[in-house]
Symmetry: C2
Subunit: 354 residues, 2 copies
């Protein structure tokens, strides 16, 4: 175990009321920083009061997008425990992203240790109302003050945390999704499977155009043929066709979601047929037309499950399951949140008590 | 004309010796900042002493890569004038990048005015040795402290400047280039034609692998078919085949280089045949094999021209023009640098005297 220096705040902030939480707007009293210096490695792990970063305007992060991040949550159980959900998977994925972005690997055990200490210190920030949680954002930025296009020699690994409200305060309402035919989020050989800023920057335009048309999110097709389904917004996507649940196989341009992986395991555990494979938009439209498209939903840490009530493709609208949440979607939602909040058994060993 | 507040430094830095300049390592005494606030627009244009930026760790730039930038230069002529090269094109391109990244348009006239005032204030930082210059980096970062994936409500437009040494202090030596078949820089529908951080982040890995094999840069193929030539490193690319100069047409995934555009105009002006069109790597290899591939070079603000002496594609190496700079490459280099440093006439009206 590394020693993590802790400097406690002398000015704790006032906590927002539960109905003001929202997502990613309020931040806790402390943050964690670990520095990386070429030749020295990661060093000086510390927890300090939440505060601004001070960086040279030539720091590489401002110019060449050399960043990676993660998203995870801490939950408060009825018994008063703090739980994390498969946190080791987030730090493993962080390192996979690092490898793609030429960022030196982070010590995963140190990251998890730092996270646990930070969560413990800011425990009072974990909201306790139904389906609220503490969103955790680990990220790495390139800090070398240099304008050459090359990997940075210095980095900071940072963790900040934000209490978040219930995603479904008004009940789970299926959303309308626009299938995007022009803009591309990621392509084979690009950075789609890494959690790096550029993927999100490139998604903003299509998202904006979808909103203007009254759609909640973009359904992304592959960048080579604009035909194969990849993701929805910043979630993985599932369909239930004729009793079988299918999701696009990880192909290098899809983010390997931890919720996605968990859903696949839950389905297998419950004996519901599930397949990871290539899925074309044509197949989905055909399934809709012959009445076998039964459910569709996005999966991700923020919403767990986001049921899709309508797909718009070209000039046509395809309503799914009468715009209602499907049975399997609801089952998966209940199972995963049940495990996360410690309401049901965890046969997978996913819950980590802090 | 907007009033730009100027706060002069009271502690001018020591200037580096000319042989220590390099590229993008040293920065001048001042910088320019303009803020953007939703509802208020761009405001508070100011020139202040060069100093660190202070940003909330949740500022969007650290997470979702919503950034754009430009690269241009100021030159000192023998007559003592300060010149810029087509600077209005850089700010027009900045706004094209902004549109793709959902960043509000910048006032181009204000940007140019601010740049001129900044260059004048830091005039003593423009190096005067042969082929040295002052590199100028305008950039915009998303500053809203919010973790939702959506366009930021606040931004900063910033200009920093760095005195840079001669790119060819040891003479113009053609470089060896590796044709990249696995990694992709950009794809149709992505952000390739915008100057945004994510494109550079995604290029680092292939660049690293190329360096390990002794190659200076990556030649990028298109992301859909991995067959059509796009760019080289962070430059546009030209070939001379059988007397005709060709360069890939702007197709949405290629950055519209200002040097590229200038080269095309210079070639036309000199009566040398030039074409913008789709070029496959197969065509280039065939031209090499039948002896008609006469020259190849990259173009960009930093190097002006970077002749390509060898292409490696798969297991084969293709030496171009005996690894020497070609006649047309040299002519273009001399013409463009001649105009930039005020050594020759400027029939195009590209030089802007500050
Ligand atoms: C692009 C993208 N796809 C999918 C996901 C879902 O991943 P996870 O289930 O690990 O949250 C995320 C993030 O949460 C994402 O950003
Ligand atoms: C990806 C890329 N291509 C091409 C260029 C050349 O553009 P310009 O000639 O405007 O410098 C640049 C930047 O300079 C670049 O970053």
């Amino acid at each position: 175990m590394t020693t993590i220096q802790i400097e406690q705040t002398t000015q704790p902030k006032q906590k927002p009321a539960v109905e003001q939480l929202g997502f990613g707007k309020h931040f806790t009293d402390h943050m964690c920083i670990v520095d990386y210096t070429e030749g020295q490695g990661w060093h000086d792990a510390r927890i300090i009061p939440y505060q601004p970063l001070t960086l040279d305007p030539s720091a590489m992060v401002f110019h060449y997008g050399q960043t990676v991040f993660e998203g995870m949550k801490a939950y408060k159980t009825a018994a008063g425990d703090i739980t994390l959900f498969r946190p080791e998977r987030n730090f493993a994925r962080l390192n996979a992203s690092n490898a793609r972005l030429c960022i030196p690997a982070m010590d995963e055990a140190l990251a998890l240790q730092a996270l646990k200490e930070l969560v413990k210190l800011d425990e009072s920030w974990i909201p306790t109302a139904e389906n609220t949680s503490l969103y955790i954002r680990p990220f790495i930025i390139a800090t070398e003050p240099y304008l050459g296009v090359s990997p940075s020699k210095n980095y900071q690994f940072i963790i900040i945390m934000s209490p978040v409200g219930s995603y479904y305060a008004e009940g789970i309402n299926p959303v309308k999704i626009l299938v995007e035919k022009q803009y591309v989020r990621a392509v084979a050989g690009g950075t789609g499977e890494a959690k790096t800023g550029g993927n999100y920057a490139s998604s903003l335009k299509a998202q904006e155009l979808a909103s203007q048309q009254g759609y909640a999110q973009t359904l992304w097709l592959d960048g080579r043929e604009n035909e194969y389904i990849e993701e929805v917004g910043s979630m993985n996507i599932f369909f239930k066709i004729n009793g079988t649940v299918i999701t696009p196989a990880l192909n290098g341009s899809i983010l390997p979601g931890i919720t996605r992986d968990s859903m696949i395991q839950v389905l297998q555990h419950k004996g519901i047929p599930v397949e990871e494979r290539r899925i074309s938009i044509t197949e989905i439209i055909e399934a809709h037309q012959n009445g076998t498209l039964e459910e569709s939903f996005g999966t991700g840490t923020a919403a767990v499950i986001s049921p899709i009530g309508e797909l718009k493709f070209g000039d046509h609208q395809y309503v799914i399951n009468n715009g209602q949440i499907g049975e399997v979607s609801q089952l998966l939602y209940d199972t995963l949140t049940g495990i996360q909040y410690g309401k049901i058994d965890d046969p997978f060993g996913w819950r980590v008590i802090v």
